[in-house]
């Protein structure tokens, strides 16, 4: 499946939860399948922290991040459903973010306003209006995308029929925030960072960004998965990326970190980790998750992976219990997951069938 993207421009002001305002914004969007006449077959797909709108099919030679799940006759079947996938504000893949230009034609850099998951949902609501979509059959996402899906069900209960919250939690915990802060610090301490105004100096803090991603990447894997994949295997002399490398796992992280730093923006990285840290839908409801969930009318599915140490099953169950206490229809399914936190990306076990059965109500 070949896919193409489209840039949606919004002239209206977007009031942000921080109290600031975005004076117009843009969303880079990919859509798959066709919206039917009744406009009741739309699905919203939310990407994770460093993901993009490119979720499925091939675009410029790369496959989308959830291509196993989205396409003709796949789990989210594009013969039946119209699937919308938008790059979030603050990211760096075409939607408004630190690398965009403000009204005066000046690059935002580090001055891009503080963003929240709630702001993303508000922006996507305007996108839904533009696409003439009044209800989502399903809102689904993994990790930060799962949190965004939950926020949708809370903020626009009448628009969400079903919500699938995968490898996510109702907040990030102290350890997550701590790791994110180390990642941010590593970027800030790159001598090319210039307080975020690196483009004005004709430099990019690639080294800091790469190191930050290497740390982040470890948290997306599981100890067991790393042991199986790399163990203590030594890196082959010919292919090692530099002389200081001994083990395969070092080479892998160096390669992945480098690849990431070439395409991602450092200010976006800092901004988006802050979005993740700040996520707390219960803040508006006396910090009470049960009260937060009272408004939800969507049927909920929570999926956790046992090997995920960022958001382990206990964090999924926390949402489940609040949902049951609030008398909501909520299912919880747990998979071992061979890839740690990243397991949500892979179509393994009954995981894909669980989503499609939840969506379509048949086996």
């Amino acid at each position: 499946m070949q896919t193409s993207n489209k840039l949606y421009k919004f002239k209206e002001e977007l009031p942000l939860t921080s109290g600031q305002t975005l004076d117009g914004f843009e969303l880079m969007v990919e859509c798959y399948g066709n919206l039917n006449q009744e406009k009741n077959n739309a699905i919203l797909l939310n990407h994770a922290f460093s993901g993009s709108h490119h979720a499925a099919g091939e675009h410029n030679g790369t496959l989308g991040w959830w291509d196993d799940f989205v396409g003709p006759n796949k789990i989210l079947d594009t013969n039946k459903f119209f699937i919308v996938s938008a790059n979030n504000i603050g990211s760096c893949f075409g939607s408004s973010g630190p690398i965009s230009l403000d009204k005066n034609g000046k690059r935002y850099n580090a001055d891009f306003p503080e963003i929240s998951v709630k702001d993303w949902v508000q922006a996507q609501k305007l996108l839904a209006d533009k696409l003439k979509i009044q209800t989502w059959k399903l809102v689904v996402g993994g990790s930060l995308g799962g949190m965004q899906s939950l926020q949708w069900a809370i903020d626009f209960p009448d628009m969400v029929e079903k919500v699938a919250i995968i490898a996510a939690a109702a907040t990030v915990d102290s350890q997550n925030i701590a790791l994110n802060e180390v990642e941010r610090e590593v970027i800030r301490k790159d001598s090319y960072f210039y307080n975020g105004n690196y483009y004005e100096h004709g430099k990019v803090p690639t080294k800091g960004l790469k190191a930050a991603r290497m740390l982040g990447h470890i948290t997306y894997l599981s100890a067991q998965n790393m042991e199986q994949r790399f163990g203590r295997k030594l890196q082959d002399q010919q292919t090692k990326l530099d002389d200081t490398i001994n083990f395969e796992v070092e080479n892998y992280l160096q390669y992945q970190g480098g690849k990431f730093a070439d395409v991602f923006d450092a200010n976006s990285y800092i901004l988006l980790t802050k979005v993740m840290d700040g996520f707390d839908p219960s803040a508006e409801y006396d910090n009470n998750l049960v009260k937060t969930f009272k408004n939800i009318s969507a049927e909920m599915l929570i999926i956790s992976f046992a090997s995920d140490w960022m958001f382990p099953p206990a964090r999924g169950k926390e949402m489940l219990k609040a949902a049951i206490k609030a008398n909501k229809k909520c299912s919880f399914v747990e998979f071992e997951g061979a890839y740690g936190h990243d397991s949500f990306l892979y179509a393994e076990d009954n995981y894909p069938d669980t989503i499609s059965t939840f969506l379509e109500g048949k086996l």
Partner: protein, 195 residues
């Protein structure tokens, strides 16, 4: 009176019900249709979990032995343990914990002292009956008991049996199954509360 109808009689309209070991969700589905209950199934088998999802019955993947107390404080009116108590590692603990998650509990117990079981044992074979259909090598049952055993355990644990029905092999009460339950009832069905 078939088993499901019996259970339906004990479940109030709009009750919040948790079925521990809900299987494919059939019981919760019929309770939902007839009593408009708010259903939650608990099941460990992922194939059965998919069946529940296909019936649009909310289902929670969990091991009953380890997780009953996870459901404390969630305001269930009724907890159901339908033919699953004999599969648990700690049936006694499960029974005493179950009333900490729901006001009332419905338990069904296949009776190992039913005459068919006694007859087959007297022939030197492990019983295979309608209520205990699997052969010994393929059964999930690890803690089988008799009607008498179960009722004695309830006394020991201080649980009050509010209602009980003794069903014969045709899943209905008969003269013999009510008169001599430990011999003629193949299934005991109980509504339990705490004293």
């Amino acid at each position: 009176m078939i088993l499901e109808a019996l259970i339906q009689n004990w479940v109030p309209q709009y009750a919040k019900v948790i079925d521990l070991g809900c299987g494919d969700g059939t019981l919760l589905e019929s309770l939902h249709q007839l009593k408009s209950i708010n259903p939650y199934g608990v099941e460990i088998d992922q194939k059965k979990i998919l069946s529940c999802l296909s019936k649009n019955i909310p289902v929670i993947q969990a091991d009953i032995d380890e997780s009953i107390r996870d459901f404390e404080g969630l305001d269930f009116d009724i907890a159901i343990l339908a033919s699953s108590i004999q599969c648990l590692r700690h049936p006694d603990k499960a029974l005493s914990n179950i009333l900490s998650i729901a006001k009332k509990c419905i338990v069904t117990v296949p009776n190992f002292a039913h005459w068919q079981c006694r007859l087959q044992l007297s022939q030197g074979k492990m019983p295979v009956t309608n209520d205990l259909p699997a052969p010994w090598y393929a059964t999930d049952n690890i803690h089988l008991c008799t009607i008498k055993d179960f009722e004695m355990l309830c006394i020991k644990l201080g649980l009050q049996i509010d209602q009980k029905k003794y069903l014969g092999t045709a899943s209905s009460e008969t003269f013999l199954s009510t008169r001599f339950p430990n011999l003629f009832a193949s299934l005991g069905v109980y509504l339990i509360g705490s004293k």
